[in-house]
């Protein structure tokens, strides 16, 4: 596998582009790029250091022509082996591309290169009174490029969303070496969102336009000490369902706390088993104060023994140091740490914690529990020494069991750390064959040669795993088994049409239907019948609506139940709004989709959790897909607690369907619908 001659042939070309000293094949350099913060190891054949963003595309072109795999790398802090060159090839070291090119407070955007360290950006924004919301615990060292690659979260994403929600536009070098600028606002399927969290398997980001927000006028941070994790979790669920959306809602157990506070005075009372860090923000001081009082009361009602509001910036910094230091502090306890990253629907957190603890004690391991409680994202930090082979085996088994437990509870296997190579096998447990095949086809469309960070995210043949977890009696996502008779009917109809090669015009309520555009010979498929009652998960703050349900009716049903949807006034069906993307902001609320492919296979994409980086973001790919990639059957949305507010009417952009497909769009279409059966006029001649 290790073919040195592959490089020497292209070496002169590479050197001409980046300089001889930046093309490195010496043993020392190769070794140093064979690891990252995860456990996997593999050696590259060459390390290429870049000094200008403009060098990336031509270098990728050379590698593409030579058929040499490559992957971008920055700080190398990722926790799932994402930067390990499994097939050798080239490491594209972008660490020196760290210029902040522009900070535009009027537009609310910052233009940065991929190597900018997250915290450096925050420091640069602060004098202007702005901040960039994603704040992973590693922000002191992790970079924007890496954050985009992994779709990083952080405490603040509870309120402000993950990286994908905070990127406006990306400049990307495709795996063939072409430069593209992608935005979620572009007409047609949202390719930008697919790039985010793709771990360098679909392309390389060379510039990012990030959304920046004004620093909130008032921030209150409090810590609450609980005698048990369970009571802390009860408080979390109560806080969220009380309609309070904290800026951050973090939890850590005693092990994590002790490690992070080592050498410092422990400010919590004896017998504290769990600590919540709750941070509220807002423009209105009175409102923040009332919310804080409510939070205090909820905590006390649930057994909180000490509730302390940080008096000054120093006390606040100390709390955050403890939280953000909890993972690196594990290094004091043992030489290696496995950080799991499962997510469950928030109300299932107590169960997930119980199971996690059982698994830890079953395998006789030590772990600090640390989690973004508000998002249902758990980080058990299991400590071990990789030189102890027996212990490593137990850790691996425990890690996989934890993931299976999250899947059983209706969650997912990664919230923000990515799949990389280490959780690849678990993708088999989370997804069915159809979904995995769908992801594979996405990968092929972006990277036909399969050179961009190969063998990551998606299971390869050797990951064969016949044993899906036993889901009997467990929570089941209302997917296949929960389909309404109408939905089954629609899927059967699509299958029949696929078998006979009949072309279909997907129609919903007809709100935006332009009959003139429908190509002759396409048979309408009426989805208006898919309008069953929305299924509201009160505790998890999510609701599933069928595609034909009108947004007004959906809203009405939510309103009756005391919930609202944070979208402007829009006309049309749920499915139509997603497929037309007249309001690009809809992507922010969309957690999951059930989609029928052109051949009539039902896919469950996404889920019920706010965070999910397992696989590509296929959900957002369907935003703006104009019914040509698949038929949306139902969608799951994130809700807000409380009554709907008055909203100004939304001005729909006139040219919303003015879409001219690009090459990647066309390749995706070819993968999903090779016979061009669905809305065939969108891709006229594929």
């Amino acid at each position: 596998m290790f073919k040195k001659d592959r490089i020497s042939a292209i070496r002169p070309e590479l050197e001409a582009l980046v300089g001889a000293e930046n093309v490195r094949t010496d043993e020392g350099e190769i070794l140093m790029y064979s690891y990252d913060a995860g456990m996997a190891r593999a050696r590259p054949e060459v390390v290429i250091n870049f000094t200008a963003t403009g060098q990336v595309a031509p270098v990728v072109k050379i590698l593409f022509r030579a058929g040499i795999p490559f992957l971008p790398r920055l700080a190398g802090t990722n926790l799932s082996g994402g930067t390990i060159p499994l097939k050798g090839g080239a490491i594209l070291n972008l660490s020196r591309l760290k210029k902040i090119r522009q900070i535009d407070t009027a537009a609310g955007l910052a233009l940065v290169e991929p190597g900018v360290v997250n915290l450096e950006l925050q420091k640069a924004l602060e004098p202007f009174g702005y901040f960039y919301a994603p704040d992973p615990a590693s922000q002191k060292v992790s970079t924007i490029g890496g954050n985009i690659g992994e779709n990083a979260g952080g405490p603040l994403c509870l309120k402000y969303g993950v990286t994908a929600d905070n990127v406006e536009k990306l400049e990307v070098v495709t795996p063939e070496g072409e430069v593209r600028t992608l935005s979620y606002r572009d007409q047609g399927p949202d390719l930008m969102s697919v790039m985010i969290g793709s771990e360098g398997t679909l392309g390389i980001v060379t510039h990012a336009w990030l959304k920046i927000l004004p620093l909130p006028a008032h921030i209150k941070t409090a810590s609450a000490a609980f005698p048990s994790l369970d009571s802390a979790m009860r408080a979390v669920t109560r806080i969220i369902s009380a309609g309070i959306l904290p800026r951050a809602l973090e939890a850590m157990d005693k092990v994590s706390m002790d490690a992070a506070l080592s050498g410092k005075a422990n400010p919590f009372p004896a017998g504290t088993e769990a600590v919540l860090i709750i941070e509220l923000d807002g423009a209105d001081a009175v409102r923040v104060k009332t919310e804080l009082e409510t939070v205090h009361k909820i905590c006390s009602d649930n057994g909180c023994e000490a509730f302390k509001v940080a008096g000054d910036e120093g006390e606040r910094a100390l709390l955050w140091q403890a939280r953000k230091g909890a993972y690196p502090a594990m290094a004091r306890l043992a030489p290696d740490v496995l950080v799991e990253d499962g997510v469950v629907p928030r109300p299932r957190l107590p169960e997930a914690l119980r199971e996690t603890r059982e698994i830890i004690s079953k395998y006789k391991l030590t772990a600090g529990l640390l989690f973004h409680a508000g998002d249902g994202n758990l980080h058990p930090n299991v400590i071990f020494d990789r030189r102890d082979i027996e212990e490593v085996k137990r850790v691996k088994k425990a890690g996989y069991e934890m993931l299976k437990s999250c899947i059983r509870l209706g969650g997912t296997i990664s919230g923000e750390h990515g799949i990389g190579v280490e959780k690849r096998v678990a993708m088999n447990w989370l997804y069915g064959k159809g979904e995995l095949a769908f992801f594979h086809s996405m990968k092929r469309a972006f990277d036909p040669a399969g050179l961009a960070n190969p063998d990551k995210i998606l299971p390869v043949a050797s990951d064969r795993s016949p044993s899906k977890p036993d889901l009997a009696g467990a929570f089941v996502f209302p997917g296949k088994s929960g389909l309404s008779p109408e939905a089954r009917g629609v899927i059967d109809e699509i299958r029949l049409r696929a078998a006979s090669g009949t072309r279909t015009a997907v129609t919903g309520l007809g709100t935006r239907l332009k009959p003139a555009r429908i190509m002759e010979g396409a048979k309408p498929l009426d989805l208006a019948q898919l309008a069953g009652r929305a299924e509201i998960d009160r505790e998890n703050l999510t609701a599933r609506a069928e595609a034909g349900l009108s947004l007004e009716e959906f809203r009405r049903q939510l309103g009756e139940a005391g919930f609202s949807l944070d979208l402007p006034e829009l006309k049309g069906s749920v499915g139509g709004l997603i497929a037309s993307k007249v309001c690009p902001g809809i992507r922010g609320l969309l957690l999951g989709l059930e989609v029928a492919t052109a051949s009539g296979e039902l896919l469950e994409l996404g889920g019920k959790t706010v965070k999910n980086v397992a696989g590509y973001d296929a959900v957002r790919l369907f935003c703006g897909s104009l019914g040509a990639y698949g038929v949306i059957i139902s969608a799951t949305f994130a809700l807000s607690a409380g009554k709907d507010r008055e909203r100004a009417p939304f001005a729909e952009p006139a040219g919303w369907d003015d879409f001219e497909p690009g090459d990647i769009h066309r390749r995706l279409k070819k993968e999903f619908d090779p016979q061009n059966l669905l809305n065939p006029w969108v891709y006229r001649n594929i």
Binding site: Y35, A37, N49
Partner: protein, 481 residues
């Protein structure tokens, strides 16, 4: 749950979690007691164990404690400048680990990684486990072929060790050569690099005047510093090589402020602390220096009881505070080294703010804006940050301004500026930019290596400012009585 237990080794991707291969030194015997990078016959050239924040560890365990979280990377000056893992803190640690594990055949592949380390220790400060990367890198360096066997290094260390007067004579000869316009000759004689005075050989302008009378010679003649008739000692001054051989005004200033603030004291009349030999890979020589200093200390202690040993170069004090690590395999010397180390104090931490006195307004005005550069071996090596700031605040008041990135290394780092001139200059540039950003007139430092390096940089790029040693600053601005 039963089906969850059906994990087979083949189920996991091959590349992930790959076990240590059979031939790996660490793979075979787990947690062994010896330093596995070397055969036992070389034990004299290596440390038996490292004294880490988490307890006594052998080299392998100390390096393996790094879990690769990478939180140190942004504190590593060489990584920040190059973006290369190979010359980053985490990379260097991993390199040593890989050498021990036999993942690379030739230690020389690591030469660049190890030799570019400033040994500043910023990584250990950032590290939650306080992995002692500088010590680990030094052990790595000692494994490189020929390291420490260089003729000049050997000759100089030997002379300094066995014939200090001859060394002094030799050095003066070199200085005379410089004064008489034969500076290149001095550089060619390889005299400067082994003293750890970077600017000297690289840039002739680094130090503009050289002393022909060394501090030890002056102090030996000072009647107030004699040992006769003194019972209780307030302090004993240890002349480190920098102040002794090059910056004699620093040694004199330190002694003056000690006399003023801390009662009667003496001059130890010491040997070199051994840091130079240590960093050159000549560990046995370093141990010999240490033993002689410890003996001298014990001699004085027998006569005078407990007293603090004060030195005024942070690199040397940090090293002496770590003497115990040199003798972990030596049951006799270890406790003695520990006792000596406990007595060592840096001048930076020794003078309490309330004894600092008042500043003379005219002298203060001449100093302009005062700022403080954290010498690496003071802040990272000894954890000294607050004490000197408290004194400077008291003396300079509003004229004191905090230096951005004050603990960013200046690039002096002993002989680093000489061995890695390009990298060193980049490290220095960032320091100079920060100094300029606060419009400083005076940069107070705590180590002589920083003094030479920063002054050389300032003269070229920002001549209205100058670097002065902490003692000299206190001595200069003190109210004249």
């Amino acid at each position: 749950m039963s089906d969850n237990n059906q994990f087979e080794p083949g189920e996991q991707p091959k590349a992930s979690w790959e076990p240590e291969h059979e031939g790996a030194a660490g793979g075979a015997h787990f947690r062994s007691e010896v330093n596995e990078l070397y055969g036992h016959e070389q034990a004299g050239r290596h440390l038996t164990a490292l004294l880490t924040d988490l307890g006594e560890r052998n080299l392998y365990d100390a390096a393996a404690q790094c879990n690769r979280c990478g939180y140190c990377e942004t504190s590593c000056p060489t990584y920040m400048l190059t973006g290369r893992e190979t010359i980053s803190a985490r990379g260097r640690n991993q390199f040593v680990r890989m050498l021990v594990e036999g993942r690379t055949k030739s230690p020389d592949a690591a030469a660049e990684s190890f030799s570019t380390c400033l040994l500043c220790g910023a990584c250990s400060s950032a590290c939650y486990a306080k992995v002692p990367t500088p010590d680990i890198v030094l052990e790595g360096r000692r494994s490189l072929t020929g390291y420490g066997d260089n003729f000049f290094a050997r000759a100089a260390v030997n002379t300094l060790l066995n014939a200090p007067r001859l060394f002094a004579f030799w050095l003066k000869l070199a200085y005379l050569a410089k004064l008489t316009g034969l500076p290149r000759l001095a550089a060619k004689m390889g005299l400067y690099d082994f003293i750890g005075m970077p600017g000297l050989a690289e840039a002739e302008g680094a130090v503009n005047k050289v002393p022909l009378r060394f501090a030890s010679e002056l102090l030996r003649r000072d009647p107030e510093l004699g040992t006769e008739g003194k019972k209780q000692l307030g302090w004993a001054y240890f002349a480190a090589c920098g102040p002794n051989f090059l910056f004699t005004e620093v040694a004199q200033a330190t002694v003056r402020i000690l006399k003023k603030t801390s009662g009667p004291g003496i001059f130890v009349d010491n040997q070199c602390c051994g840091l130079m030999a240590h960093n050159y890979g000549r560990l046995d020589d370093a141990r010999e220096f240490a033993r002689r200093n410890i003996l001298r200390y014990e001699e004085l202690k027998a006569e005078h009881g407990d007293f603090p040993v004060i030195a005024d170069c942070a690199s040397c004090t940090a090293f002496m505070k770590g003497y115990e690590q040199l003798f972990t395999g030596d049951a006799d010397w270890r406790p003695r080294a520990k006792a000596f180390a406990a007595a060592v104090k840096d001048i930076l931490e020794f003078i309490p703010a309330e004894k600092a006195g008042r500043a003379d307004p005219a002298a203060l005005a001449a100093a302009g804006t005062v700022t403080y550069h954290d010498s690496c071996r003071a802040c990272h090596g000894q954890g000294i940050r607050q004490e000197p700031r408290a004194v400077l605040h008291k003396l300079a008041g509003k004229n004191f301004r905090e230096l951005p990135e004050s603990d960013w290394c200046c690039g002096g780092a002993g002989a680093f500026a000489f061995t890695q001139p390009e990298l060193s200059n980049k490290v220095l540039d960032r320091k100079l930019r920060n100094i300029a950003s606060v419009q400083a007139g005076t940069v107070v430092v705590g180590a002589t290596s920083c003094l030479a390096q920063i002054n050389a940089g300032l003269r070229a790029a920002y001549p209205s400012a100058r670097a002065v040693h902490y003692s000299v600053f206190i001595d200069e601005v003190a109210e004249k009585t």
